[in-house]
């Protein structure tokens, strides 16, 4: 399974949606994922890819990890996987 499919699966589960309902330009807000849902998603992503995501819930905008859309999240994770397992 690609990084993209895996991430979409995790986000869909968190949002209680079908993966097909999660598009690359969706934002977490569009999907109804709140701040607790976000930290839970990040935890699930870290577990699934065995990576560490640099994200601080106090300053999401300042984090090196862009969460502004599903596409940005997938992109960020691909980069982290390459850095941490490359």
């Amino acid at each position: 399974m690609s990084v993209k499919d895996k991430v979409i699966g995790i986000i869909a589960e968190q949002a209680v949606l079908e993966p097909s309902d999660v598009t690359m330009d969706s934002t977490l807000e569009d999907l109804g994922i709140d701040s607790l849902g976000l930290v839970e998603s990040i935890f699930a992503i870290e577990e699934a890819f065995d990576i560490s995501v640099p994200f601080n819930a106090n300053e999401p905008d300042q984090s090196d990890f862009d969460i502004s859309s599903v596409a940005k999240i997938v992109e960020g994770i691909e980069k982290l996987v390459a850095e941490q397992h490359g």
Binding site: V16, L36, V39, E40, I42, F43, E46, E47, S52
Partner: protein, 402 residues
């Protein structure tokens, strides 16, 4: 001062998953204590407890709730649903703004601590789920009741070991009596029956390996239980006006501290709490027909408690009945007073005194009518519920038939 009545009761414990099941078991003198079932139980030397069996959280709670609810919170919500459902109260507007939740727990989310310590220490994991803290915190159960039922008034959790829920209920009672709140949800919850929770108690060497036999000369210690007891305390006129069914009236309480030893109980501290509750409720000692004892089944508690009762009641001590239902459901630690209050309600409402089961041998140091082994029918107008905690913190409640 306002009168305070109980208009809803709920529970889950080793004797039953609701109040009717629990009271039936108490009437029948059934024992809910048995072999413990959880991971690594074979590494414990104490392998019995009053464990809640046949309880599946899956199906009752959704996936998101499951990630946030420790077992002690799950128990609380199950009991609260029964209690608030029975009371028939809907918390909206002014009532919602003023009514709150005061709960007792000694350990809070013990199995959440246990599971996650395992993950990081034993399994060497370096990451835990983000909800570990909101799941294990002692006030989690209180907050989830508040959110579920829209209770926006004074809400907090009290932690005084084995007296936690009596302290909590005393506080809720005081809030309703003073007019501060028209109704309060109160009681307590505990779930320590996991490897770490039982191992810690084992260390103290006060646990029985075979049974909890309060007041019996051959008693050899306490047995842990788990579960929750939740009540709706409501101002009498408020309850009457809406035609609510009244289970009993709470008429007084007292709290005291032994100020002497971190584990050994004191007769004076216990006696001051019992006498204080009578004085607060403006009762004469002769009014009391039943006491739900703290009755842990340890050598020290039971003889100290009997001596305190004898001191406060004098000759009347021989006339009243005192039983320990811990012999059936085990010691629910921070929830124990809440589950035991059900035995007081049963005595007042149904005229049935729950027995002290497992009683085998007379102990001259516990020479009171401990209602051995079989429930008894008796008319009871006033009942007390004792709780004496480690740390010497005592709380006694007085209830009256309505």
């Amino acid at each position: 001062m306002k009168r305070v009545v109980i208009t809803g009761a709920g529970t889950i414990n080793a004797l039953g998953h609701d109040v009717p099941e629990t009271l039936e078991a108490m009437r029948e003198g059934r024992c809910g204590i048995g072999p413990l079932e959880f991971r690594d139980v074979d590494r414990l030397s104490i392998a019995i407890g009053g464990q809640v069996k046949g309880f599946e959280a899956e199906g009752r709670f959704n996936r998101q709730q499951m990630t946030l609810y420790d077992r002690f919170t799950q128990f609380t919500l199950v009991a609260a649903k029964e209690a608030i459902g029975q009371a028939g109260l809907e918390f909206t507007g002014e009532l919602a703004a003023r009514a709150g939740v005061v709960l007792g727990t000694a350990g809070g989310g013990v199995s959440t601590w246990d599971d996650n310590y395992r993950a990081v220490y034993e399994e060497g994991k370096n990451r835990v789920h983000p909800f570990v803290v909101p799941k294990l915190m002692n006030n989690a159960a209180c907050s989830h009741i508040s959110m579920e039922y829209n209770l926006k008034g004074p809400s907090f959790t009290v932690s005084t070991a084995c007296a936690s829920s009596n302290h909590a209920m005393a506080q809720a009672f005081q809030m309703v009596r003073s007019g501060m709140a028209p109704a309060m949800v109160t009681g307590g919850s505990e779930s320590m029956l996991c490897f770490g929770g039982v191992k810690a108690w084992e260390g103290l060497r006060v646990m029985s390996k075979d049974a909890c036999r309060p007041f019996s000369a051959n008693r050899n210690g306490m047995v842990q239980g788990e579960g929750a007891g939740i009540f709706v305390f409501e101002e009498y006129e408020h309850a009457k006006k809406r035609g609510a069914e009244i289970l009993a009236e709470v008429v007084g309480y007292a709290m005291s501290s032994d100020a002497s030893d971190i584990v050994m109980p004191s007769k004076q501290g216990a006696a001051r709490a019992i006498a204080g509750a009578l004085a607060d409720a403006r009762l004469n000692p002769e009014d009391v027909r039943y006491i739900n004892a703290h009755g842990t089944g340890t050598a020290a508690n039971d003889k100290t408690e009997c001596a305190a009762v004898a001191d406060v009641f004098g000759r009347h001590a021989d006339e009243l009945m005192i039983s320990s239902t811990k012999s059936m459901h085990g010691h629910l630690i921070g929830a124990t007073g809440a589950v035991e209050l059900l035995a007081c309600i049963m005595a007042l409402r149904d005229g049935v005194i729950a027995p002290t089961i497992g009683y085998e041998e007379f102990d001259p140091e516990c020479a009171l009518d401990v209602v051995p082994n079989e429930a008894r029918e008796a008319k009871v107008g006033v009942a007390l519920s004792n709780a004496f905690a480690f740390g010497g913190l005592n709380a006694v409640l007085a209830l009256r038939k309505v």
